[in-house]
Point group: C2
Chain length 312, copies 2
């Protein structure tokens, strides 16, 4: 646990990061005490800034999420402990305790850690991790005898909702998640710190494709024989000019290859997307209530799919 | 829309608030420009502070929530517009445009409004509203031929989760929500600003009982013949020492009088509560996934209940 081992780790892996960090590695001290340290800057960009670093790494923070990152098949660029976060180091021993660990394990002061963290009461553990690049084919690859079950987020703006839906998708056996922008609004990144927290790290395990143009995506799904199911927020939208009837989730055949389309929290899916979908669904609910939270609605539909798929 | 009408409204209702506000009412100017104004202080406590005022009023903010508050049967103490929030006034005409409106309709500057608001980009409309005091009997009163369906939140700490569950409960025909503290953790107030936002105001419509001791509540439910269903986060918890088997949500008879017990986000329900419940349920999910978000899990279970109740 003491400095000798840490020094070795911080300085060791020559292939773990770009050349511009060579200097920090060569001169790395046991505890980073300067806020201008380039590693801290990278962590600050990824966590507090909420955007990927120039190398495409995203930041995860907290014991649970760092564990998820280390156990995922994603490339880890660095792990950072604060002085008081050191108490968690034993828990990470299987990942960071080996001499051949392929990334630097850094340490800084509690105060500097607070300056890079995105949470109010940080646990003092963070990591920079590069999400796997997935393709549409990856998201449509079903293990075992299962048919693909894709979740397409089209204009879901709240990172918390995006994260909750990714977590639910993983729990109910979805094969992948795709995010797309609509004419009206983009979809929050599943890798934003708030979304990663809400997904409990599921975005690092599940195949995820970010920011595909919606039109191209829908065409590709058609070519692949994957049926599209439009989730309609309002009963009226679902019915207006629709070419087919609007079904309750339990009327849909979820055992076929299928993509669930989830729209914006307020506006729902664009009208043309609703019209061109193979199936339109609406969750029946009490009369005086307008709608469900986007995460709750997706959970209900994905549960229904899972129920049908596992009770075959 | 202009000052004459507003002046009358600000000064008029002698019975709308306590005596300590008599002075403000008497000298009320058209636009409140002092941050020391007592009404602004009340709004600040309720919104930014997130706690009820001394009269028990909670704060709601934003067009949609203020509409919900005004259309609920709760007592409204005041409505406040910022200068730029004035553009919404027409929308509230049915509630605040009548000469006999029973509460002051106030106006302040954008800057002072920002100082009392709990959101980053306030819409400039807020209200102080006193939630209805409900009893256990109110939450167990089912309209029409329906059996009571109660939701008991025992140790749900995140206000967003509490709000989402209240919204979902309303959507799926629950007759009431009760919050209780466990030995380990309290439940966030459904009336905290973040919870009210997440519930889309449903907490002002649905009968809600806050902070009942859990033991007394469970005894009362037993006396009333309302079956308790413990929602178990982890399969193991559900099975450990349980006196009956653990069911998937679709194996439960939801058409009977029933109370769904929802526990803490991380720890779940206390073990003795799980043991003493009439039924234990666990939502089946993919193997490598640990759990669902609390709001998503409650949505799945309440959807199942609603599905059974409406398709009888």
């Amino acid at each position: 646990m003491k400095s000798g081992r840490r020094d070795r780790r911080v300085g060791a892996p020559a292939d773990s990061f770009g050349d511009r960090h060579a200097n920090e590695r060569a001169t790395a001290t046991d505890v980073i005490t300067s806020r201008d340290n380039r590693w801290l800057k990278e962590f600050r960009v990824a966590l507090r800034g909420g955007v990927p670093t120039t190398t495409g790494a995203v930041g995860v923070e907290g014991v649970r999420l760092v564990e998820e990152a280390l156990s995922s098949r994603c490339k880890v660029e660095a792990v950072l402990f604060s002085n008081s976060g050191e108490r968690w180091r034993d828990r990470f021993a299987p990942f960071v305790g080996r001499p051949d660990v392929g990334f630097p394990v850094l340490q800084t002061t509690d105060r500097l850690f607070e300056g890079i963290a995105d949470t109010e009461h940080p646990q003092g553990v963070a990591a920079l991790v590069v999400p796997r690049a997935s393709t549409l084919d990856d998201t449509a690859t079903a293990p075992e005898a299962c048919a693909p079950l894709l979740v397409v987020l089209a204009g879901v703006q709240d990172p918390g909702n995006v994260g909750t839906i990714v977590r639910t998708a993983a729990a109910f056996g979805a094969t992948g998640v795709l995010t797309a922008a609509t004419g009206h609004s983009g979809t929050a990144s599943p890798y934003a710190p708030k979304a990663l927290r809400a997904s409990a790290g599921a975005a690092l395990h599940l195949p995820v494709v970010v920011g595909m143009p919606l039109g191209i995506l829908l065409t590709q799904l058609k070519l692949k024989g994957i049926a599209t199911v439009a989730s309609c927020v309002h009963q009226q939208t679902a019915e207006s000019g629709a070419t087919g009837q609007v079904l309750a989730p339990w009327r849909v055949q979820w055992c076929e290859p299928v993509a669930l389309l989830v729209g914006n929290e307020g506006a729902g899916l664009p009208e043309d997307v609703v019209h061109s979908a193979d199936v339109r669904i609406h969750i029946p609910m009490a009369k005086q209530v307008e709608s469900l939270n986007a995460g709750a609605a997706a959970a209900v539909v994905l549960y229904e799919a899972y129920r049908q798929r596992t009770s075959r």
